[in-house]
């Protein structure tokens, strides 16, 4: 592996780890706050999958960095300006509709992105994708069912779901942006060319929203910046909470 590719792959694994840890953390905030006990369990399950992915991506990033850092250094010792997650993942959990719509957007994204990552020439990335694909299949079934039930449920649930779709839509464009690092890896057959996934994502999401009697928004706005560390105000607070114990006891084992 050339140095340039190695460095890009490390950056890429870090980004994917950041996406996973941030979304996993947000989902974990639902535990004991769900609408009924079965949902507490389901949220815990999904959060666990994402934290597991984060650990695999970070461990790989640490291996490539080869500078003595481990998965926790990646998660706990970088600040918000160094995090490279997509903005969609860091938005606060909001109400149940908001979290489920965000989940649907993410799940459809991973449904398309992971099979491509499975084809990666990088064996580790491919292996992580293989495990994640199985999880995402279940995640999507759940978020799709929920969006259908909320969209086509009561007047109130419909309104909440529509509001969530409208509020989140502008954060979905960034999911399909490519920069030099990702282009380099896509050309090398290592990373996924996410730009090519947007049409299929739109098609799948639109079909589900329409079945849920929800309106697919016009593309009138887009917020970007997660991949360059230009975040919303929410991430700083999230990381403050997440990192407090770890950073209060420097160098300790847990």
């Amino acid at each position: 592996m050339s140095d340039q590719i190695k460095q890009a792959t490390q950056e890429y694994a870090t980004r994917l780890g950041d996406d996973s840890v941030v979304l996993g953390h947000r989902i974990s905030e639902w535990v004991s706050y769900g609408p009924f006990l079965e949902e507490d369990i389901a949220y815990g399950n999904v959060a666990l999958d994402y934290i597991g992915r984060a650990r695999m991506f970070y461990t790989y990033a640490a291996e490539l960095a080869d500078d003595g850092r481990d998965e926790d250094d990646f998660a706990y010792m970088r600040n918000d300006r160094e995090y490279r997650n997509l903005l969609l993942m860091e938005l606060p959990k909001g109400d149940f509709a908001y979290s489920q719509v965000r989940q649907l957007f993410a799940d459809v994204y991973y449904t398309l992105m992971l099979p491509e990552l499975l084809q990666s020439k990088d064996e580790t990335l491919s292996a992580i994708a293989a495990k994640a694909i199985k999880e995402t299949k279940y995640h999507l079934r759940r978020s799709r069912d929920w969006v259908l039930r909320l969209g086509d449920g009561t007047e109130e649930s419909h309104q909440r779901a529509q509001k969530a779709v409208d509020q989140l839509w502008g954060y979905t464009h960034e999911l399909f942006d490519m920069d030099e690092t990702e282009q380099l890896l896509a050309d090398a057959g290592i990373g996924v060319d996410v730009a090519g996934l947007r049409d299929r994502w739109l098609e799948m999401v639109s079909a589900i929203l329409t079945e849920a009697t929800l309106t697919v928004p016009e593309d009138s706005w887009a917020v970007r910046g997660g991949r360059i560390g230009y975040h919303t105000e929410n991430l700083g607070h999230m990381l403050t909470e997440m990192q407090i114990v770890h950073r209060s006891h420097p160098g300790c084992k847990w």
Partner: protein, 314 residues
């Protein structure tokens, strides 16, 4: 005078046969079981809160994953137990109502606050540890569905206890700050964990009848003694100080002697005046109320679907 039904019931109890949902049982047996199983289910559910308090601050990804899966198991235990209790003719929503109104109790231990990360370790080790001592004994309880639930739950609880102890061990063998955190958690959770076994047998309102019916298999004081005995060695291995200065091996009894507990505090917390009693119930009520529109949405969606299917069929 005993009826033939009562006689048959007591014959099964004496022969160690399980009582099953469709069998005849005395009303008081049924009531007693509903009280105990629902209390147990509520404890699993409310217990998610003090541990959930540290989910977003777990100090490593590994610990975060372990804690997530532990809390998930507990919610699962809550589900089995609610189901076991439903076989006695009460619905989950009635049980939840009783929890929220205060008519049903949950384990008083969860009214103590979790103040540091070490409390998560202490809960796994001491609270789940005390629960296991009790639950191992309940695997032989006379009511079939409860007994089978307990067998399943015990397997997962012993994993919880191990992870809790292992988390404490990491702290106790760590930095000075970590060790101090572990000692502090032990000092705070040791006594309430002992109180989890309930009042002295002489003061326990439900004990006698429960023993007779073999709902309970061992007395509060006997179970507590087991826990006291097994914990001494565990504290030694951690290299922490025992919170009970009077702990002393009694050769004659073959058990450790220990200080008497602060029962005033016990009753005060049971009666609703602990640090977190109000907070725990309010949290449950708030989440439940906020979830109402979601539950309504499912009902509405299912009705629409049913109507559509009926139309197709017509």
């Amino acid at each position: 005078m005993t009826t033939p039904q009562e006689e048959n019931f007591m014959r099964k109890i004496s022969a160690e046969e399980k009582i099953e949902p469709k069998d005849w049982m005395p009303d008081a047996y049924r009531k007693n079981l509903i009280r105990q199983i629902s209390q147990h289910a509520h404890s699993e559910v409310i217990g998610m809160q003090p541990e959930g308090n540290w989910l977003t601050r777990a100090p490593s990804l590994r610990r975060k994953a372990i804690l997530l899966s532990k809390i998930q198991d507990e919610a699962g235990h809550g589900l089995y137990l609610y189901s076991a209790c439903e076989t006695l003719g009460i619905s989950r929503s009635e049980m939840i109502e009783q929890l929220q109104s205060g008519a049903a109790k949950y384990s008083s231990i969860f009214n103590y606050p979790t103040l540091t990360w070490a409390d998560v370790g202490a809960i796994g080790w001491l609270v789940d540890g005390a629960a296991i001592v009790n639950q191992v004994s309940l695997q032989r309880t006379s009511y079939g569905p409860y007994s089978r639930g307990m067998i399943r739950i015990c397997k997962e609880e012993s994993f919880h206890q191990r992870q809790g102890y292992e988390a404490m061990l990491a702290l106790a063998k760590g930095s000075e700050g970590q060790k101090a955190m572990a000692q502090d958690a032990l000092n705070r959770f040791y006594w309430p964990a002992l109180m989890m076994f309930g009042p002295h047998d002489s003061e326990s309102a439900h004990s006698q009848k429960s023993m007779e019916w073999k709902i309970k298999r061992e007395t509060n004081d006997d179970l507590r003694q087991k826990f006291v005995d097994q914990t001494v060695k565990q504290i030694e291995v951690l290299g922490l100080e025992h919170p009970d200065k009077n702990i002393k091996w009694n050769e004659e009894r073959g058990h450790y002697d220990s200080s008497d507990l602060n029962w005033d505090e016990f009753w005060s917390v049971i009666n609703g005046n602990g640090h977190c009693n109000r907070q725990r119930v309010e949290h449950h009520v708030a989440a439940h109320d906020e979830g109402e529109w979601v539950r309504d949405a499912i009902t509405a969606y299912n009705e629409k679907k049913r109507a559509k299917n009926a139309q197709h069929a017509a």
